[in-house]
């Protein structure tokens, strides 16, 4: 487990990857859970807290794969967890842009100088060499709409007592038929999450590293993802200069902006 620096509300905005709802459960409220809450309540809190108007930030993605380290920087804007725009600014990926709009993911590459729709089998592939797939980035529905939660017990993550939730997918089409959440009992942070395949095999792991208080919200600004199907691989996301709920021009999420 990664060390967890407890400070403020728990939220995770995978704006890094177009505000993937995969992390939507990280938007936990600051409410401190007392007694034993129901699983539905905990998940509802997750959903309630993911609602925000806009977010703008500068991101850093550090990929460690088989002893090598790759660093990528990008600028991201997202709106209502449905529209996102990311532009990579590190030298190797300069000019590569992603646009998520209406649940569809488009990419513009300076190599092809054209916009391409990422769909089908490609959605399951790693995005920018990270431990997240494209599919992870376009999930944007509420967790309570997609999963049936059950509270299966308590645990401790790096010294933090946490509720353990087991989520079973309502639809067979979900990327992860089952998930497990470890929710901080004190501040509602999502400390740890695991993603499972239909066979029961664990596919991915999420660990919160640091959360900051931004506008009275606990916001996860540093976390780690591990794709367990890749040997010796992890991706560290770090978010800088996070601005929440500031006005964003809709033209940012346009095809024209993507092709510009």
């Amino acid at each position: 487990m990664q060390k967890y620096n407890s400070c403020g509300r728990s939220e995770i905005v995978p704006v890094v990857l177009l505000c993937a709802a995969v992390f939507s459960f990280f938007f936990l409220s600051p409410a401190v859970v007392e007694g034993e809450p129901s699983a539905a309540e905990l998940l509802a809190q997750v959903d309630d807290n993911e609602v925000y108007d806009t977010i703008t930030y500068t991101g850093e993605m550090i990929i460690e794969y088989q002893g090598r380290r790759y660093e990528k920087r990008f600028e991201a804007v997202a709106k209502e967890n449905s529209d996102s725009f990311i532009e990579f600014v590190n030298q190797e990926d300069l000019g590569t842009k992603y646009l998520k709009r209406s649940g569809r993911l488009y990419v513009y590459s300076p190599d092809s100088e054209q916009v391409m729709l990422i769909s089908g089998h490609l959605l399951k592939e790693s995005m920018m060499g990270s431990d997240l797939s494209y599919e992870d980035t376009i999930e944007n529905n509420k967790m309570s709409d997609r999963y049936n939660p059950s509270l299966i017990g308590s645990d401790t993550i790096d010294g933090h007592p946490a509720w353990v939730l087991d989520l079973a997918a309502k639809k067979e089409s979900e990327s992860y038929p089952r998930r497990k959440f470890w929710v901080d009992k004190e501040n509602g942070d999502l400390l740890h999450a695991e993603f499972y395949a239909l066979s029961g095999a664990k596919l991915k792991e999420y660990s919160l590293i640091r959360a900051d208080v931004i506008h009275d919200r606990r916001f996860p600004v540093e976390f780690e993802m591990r794709d367990l199907l890749r040997k010796n691989s992890r991706t560290l996301f770090i978010m800088h200069d996070v601005v929440l709920d500031a006005p964003v021009n809709d033209s940012v999420f346009s095809m024209r902006n993507l092709e510009r």
């Binding site: 088989q66 190599d111 729709l117 089998h121």
Partner: protein, 428 residues
């Protein structure tokens, strides 16, 4: 003195006389003799045909390996070698040194015909029935000057359009790939690949040519692109993932391997083509085929053994008579042994003739293995067309092998005739 002279006279005439007797004897039962000849001939024919087939297959594998997989000497980085099956591009050879400079340095070594940089990596295709492909970046002009890609027609394999130009946003695809993906010349192939910096790279090369290398793996999976363009896409700069070195003389491969390894220093894996798994495998299993041929020849020889035993049994009185007339046991054994040898020689000769005829025809009209396998030899580095080897060496080996095995097999039953007592034999 007289005895000595008798002995000398007998000695001079013995072998020819015994040979004449043996040869005449084998035609006393023509049907049986022909059956024996056919049995040996079939075994020898099988031996020759299979040797020619295997030899053709081995030659085909070796050529495919040299052309597509290794060159005569292959250079990759140690890190690439560890993950070779994934074709990683983040581990260029010689710490990312310019491929052009590296080629020039290697080509300066005596005996080097060409040092050709190549890059192979996986690509995921957009909106296609074919989901994945191999991007094969080569210096097309230089490659064509050194290699023939179509191993059957001995040409560059291009069947439509043209190969992509250096530095262009173009590609050529295999005939099978084009059929499966439903693409044609002029169509773009949107794809994603992963760069040396582990970034997603998107590309839409346009198809300018369709090739048929008669090498299933490439015809079905490969998108051929200019290496300089691929270097740029993969952010490799001037570096290359692999270096294929072709020698003036293939026998120089070992020496060149050592010299190149010394020149490049540690961190590189330098192999000669004989180290390839399939080449080594085929070579190491060759002795198994010899055992198979031996068993087949021995089984065929049972007919001769049986014939000799029957002859001895049929001619038991005759053997007694021969003994009574003064023939020694050695001479009697020799007659029967020579009969077996004649059957072996005639059978082997017939087998060699038909073996030679069929393998000669096979060498002119190659076999399309895809017809037999339904294209199932994709993972096997061999051309889809196999030329059976026509070789006098194989014919002679089959002929001598047939005579030796069949003759040796009949030696023991021939000896049986030596233990027949003339008096007992005449009494029957």
């Amino acid at each position: 003195m007289e005895n000595v002279m008798d002995k000398e006279l007998r000695g001079q005439g013995d072998f020819l006389t015994l040979s004449t007797i043996a040869y005449r004897n084998i035609w006393r039962n023509g049907r049986r003799t022909i059956l024996c000849i056919i049995a040996v001939a079939v075994a020898v024919f099988f031996n020759i045909f299979m040797q020619a087939w295997i030899s053709g297959m081995i030659e085909g594998i070796e050529e495919a390996v040299r052309t597509y997989e290794t060159g005569h000497v292959n250079v990759v980085s140690n890190l690439f070698e560890e993950e070779r099956e994934y074709y990683p591009v983040q581990y260029p050879i010689a710490d990312g040194k310019s491929a052009t400079e590296l080629s020039a340095e290697i080509e300066a070594l005596p005996g080097v015909k060409a040092a050709l940089p190549r890059i192979t990596t996986y690509a995921s295709l957009f909106d296609s029935t074919v989901k994945h492909a191999l991007l094969w970046g080569i210096d097309i002009q230089r490659e064509r000057a050194v290699n023939v890609f179509n191993l059957t027609d001995r040409d560059d394999g291009l069947i439509e359009g043209r190969f992509p130009r250096a530095g262009s946003n173009e590609c050529a695809v295999g005939l099978e790939f084009a059929r499966k993906a439903g693409v044609k010349i002029g169509d773009p192939i949107p794809l994603k690949t992963v760069s040396a910096q582990f970034s997603d790279k998107y590309w839409r090369p346009v198809i300018t040519g369709i090739f048929a290398f008669d090498y299933r793996k490439f015809d079905e999976e490969v998108i051929l692109v200019p290496i300089d363009r691929l270097q740029r896409i993969l952010v490799l700069g001037e570096a290359t993932q692999q270096m294929f070195i072709y020698a003036e003389n293939a026998d120089d491969a070992l020496r060149l391997r050592d010299e190149v390894a010394k020149m490049l220093g540690p961190g590189q894996t330098v192999r000669e083509w004989g180290d390839n798994y399939w080449v080594a495998y085929m070579r190491q299993t060759s002795f198994l085929y010899v055992i198979v041929f031996l068993v087949f020849q021995i089984v065929a020889s049972f007919l001769i053994i049986n014939t000799v035993l029957m002859i001895i049994h049929e001619r038991i009185k005759e053997i007694g008579m021969m003994g009574a007339l003064g023939m020694t046991r050695r001479e009697i054994v020799t007659v029967f042994f020579l009969e077996a040898v004649f059957l072996s020689v005639l059978g082997s000769a017939v087998g060699m003739f038909f073996g030679g005829l069929v393998t000669w025809i096979g060498s002119l009209f190659p076999l399309d293995m895809d017809t037999f396998t339904g294209g199932g030899m994709k993972e096997f580095p061999v051309s889809g067309t196999i030329f059976i080897t026509f070789s006098p060496k194989i014919l002679m080996e089959g002929f001598v092998f047939g005579i030796l095995v069949s003759s040796l097999c009949t030696l023991i039953p021939s000896l049986k005739s030596a233990f027949i007592e003339p008096v007992e034999a005449l009494r029957r």
